[in-house]
Symmetry: C2
Subunit: 194 residues, 2 copies
């Protein structure tokens, strides 16, 4: 029963994904007992995603092998400019992002990953943030913020590898509450100011 009740997250990786943002998201959510699936798309080497700084991560699944997305409470899109472009132009992911948002699930993106929020036509006009390198691509269609994490209408966005812990802990708090966030944060020895 407890397994059925646990929260579930889907993290998308591809070649060029920013490895800190990817791994911090996966690891922090799992520390909160969230059931995380790392799903790969369009990988050059089918065995792993070669991330932005060359770290090679083996996905748990290929996204195309997942048949039921209704079980997920949040989808997470890491950054890495080339990865974000690949994810933003992937019809399968676009459709998934839009349907998850429509179903009232959380959609979370960090760094250049925020481009995928735009290309999926989610929460246009709402508050958003991203890495400064893609600000110009977003500010005309969103209310662009400079905060380290922005939550608006179940869309969670953040800025870069240096904000990844705060981003992941915010997702934990949104899904499981402040007490769980603090428990995870304290054990990881996170700074009081992120």
């Amino acid at each position: 029963m407890s397994d059925q009740n646990s929260k579930k997250a889907l993290v998308i990786v591809t070649d060029g994904s920013e490895e800190i943002e990817t791994v911090v998201s996966v690891s922090v959510l799992r520390r909160a007992q969230i059931d995380v699936t790392v799903a790969g798309i369009t990988l050059q080497n089918e065995n792993y995603a070669k991330c932005n700084r060359g770290v090679k991560i083996v996905p748990d699944q290929s996204l195309s092998n997942i048949s039921n997305f209704d079980i997920y409470d949040v989808i997470v899109i890491p950054g890495g400019l080339n990865a974000a472009k690949a994810i933003s132009s992937n019809p399968e992911v676009q459709k998934l992002l839009a349907s998850m948002h429509q179903a009232g699930k959380f959609v979370a993106a960090i760094c250049a990953g925020t481009l995928a929020i735009k290309s999926a036509n989610i929460n246009k006009g709402g508050k958003i943030t991203s890495h400064p390198i893609v600000k110009a691509d977003l500010e005309n269609e969103y209310s662009y913020q400079e905060d380290r994490v922005v939550v608006d209408n179940k869309v969670v966005t953040s800025r870069g590898p240096g904000t990844a812990l705060l981003f992941a802990l915010t997702i934990v708090e949104l899904l499981l509450g402040e007490e769980k966030r603090n428990e995870v944060s304290n054990h990881m020895i996170v700074a009081s100011i992120l």
Copy 2:
């Protein structure tokens, strides 16, 4: 020529390594143009290390395939309690850590990884820190500190996933100076207080 002059780092991974500490170290050092080799030891699946929260990382090399360690300027030992125990009891790594320290290279460990500093008999009596869970194993033989990063006699130690960015940026500063550290930190949008 520039390649020969660039700094080089060796990061040890094994099953159970803490994935945030591993990946933050690798990625931040590479962002500073440090040439990083991720070396695996004693892996159950020869293709990847299954980290502490299940993230699977493909090493660049097996440690036993590396013949020349003189080229490395720093060796980094991530945490994860079971991994730290495996690394601390691995004769090859112990010998390597001791010889690197003797040669005046930097030896860096985070979280439970600090156990490997002790078992390699490095800088006994000096200042050290670690995750609180292994404090009792270290405080009798070292001057135990509660700082987030401690540098003493070319031994760099730190506390947990929440201090991994500060740990990695400190290594960057020690190898390449404050300007490079700030350049990397600013681009990653790291908080002013870590």
